[in-house]
């Protein structure tokens, strides 16, 4: 494929100029022009992880001496809770990763210096919640995702409020006010 590259001296001079006055952006994107992003899904996924830990806790121990039917029932429930926790831990990571990578711009990260650490924490906590049954880790994940959602809406100039999820799990969701 035909490509032309400037000699390094001229390229260096232009790069220096770019630092003084940033170049314009030539978009080579695949998304629709006003990309649609919403941190709602990430929050629902985090809440789901919280809920699965609650259900696993409530399921308790497999009663010793349980018959086959009861044991099957217990294992079936446990497996389903763990499976959903796995899926939603990963879903939460994916939703946050997409918004972080595709929506946020360098100027957002400048305005919110915590952004990258926040995303890093969410990705780590997403993994931790899959590895463990850990109610505290689930609450931590939810809290970080809530903050992520607040920053997202703030960068769009939209005020937010924390409102009860109104679900069995309890907890709050960040939504545009």
């Amino acid at each position: 494929m035909f490509r032309t590259t400037l000699p390094s001296l001229a390229a260096g001079a232009l790069r220096a100029l770019d630092r003084l006055a940033p170049p314009q952006t030539a978009h080579a994107h695949c998304d629709i022009p006003c990309g649609i992003y919403d941190p709602h899904y990430a929050q629902i996924a985090a809440l789901t992880v919280v809920r699965m830990d609650q259900l696993i806790e409530a399921l308790g121990e497999l009663p010793s001496g349980a018959g086959k039917a009861d044991a099957d029932k217990w294992h079936n429930s446990m497996t389903r809770y763990v499976l959903v926790k796995e899926e939603h831990g990963e879903l939460c990571k994916r939703e946050v990763r997409v918004i972080w990578g595709d929506y946020f711009k360098p100027e957002h990260a400048e305005k919110y210096p915590e952004l990258h650490t926040l995303v890093w924490n969410i990705l780590k906590l997403g993994g931790k919640n899959r590895q463990e049954v850990n109610a505290q880790a689930a609450q931590d994940l939810l809290a970080q995702v809530q903050r992520f959602a607040e920053i997202f809406w703030e960068t769009k100039g939209v005020a937010t409020k924390r409102q009860p999820s109104n679900q069995a799990v309890g907890g709050e969701l960040v939504a545009p006010a």
Partner: protein, 120 residues
């Protein structure tokens, strides 16, 4: 605020008056030819000398959002007597990850800002 706006306008006018423009590529639709982050020097007067030709990489105004500039490759352009007028068909090199004429149709020549001249 008023001063900042004035400066932004002044900068846009200055840029529009220069024969070349500097661009940074964002996104993957021109891979593997041009990758995100690469810098392009765009010749704004290229098509005063000759009509757009198939294979040229151009920066153009997004038909859906004129203040947004896209980088694409010309896939079809009028030839011969029609060469000076009319519309061109632009595609991203990375077809699977590109929104281009397949989505917004042929673009008028007036939407083209310039031809990609050099990478730096």
């Amino acid at each position: 605020m008023a001063l900042l706006r004035w400066l932004a306008t002044a900068r846009r006018r200055l840029q529009a008056a220069l024969p070349v423009a500097r661009y940074a590529v964002e996104g993957a639709s021109m891979e593997p030819s041009y990758r995100a982050g690469e810098r392009l020097l765009v010749d704004r007067r290229a098509y005063r000398r000759r009509p757009p030709a198939v294979g040229d990489v151009v920066v153009l105004r997004d038909p859906a959002q004129p203040r947004r500039h896209l980088v694409k490759r010309i896939a079809q352009a009028p030839e011969g007597v029609d060469a000076g007028s009319s519309r061109v068909w632009v595609l991203g090199d990375n077809a699977a990850a590109s929104r281009d004429s397949r989505a917004f149709g042929a673009v008028p020549r007036t939407a083209i800002i310039g031809r990609v001249w050099f990478r730096y």
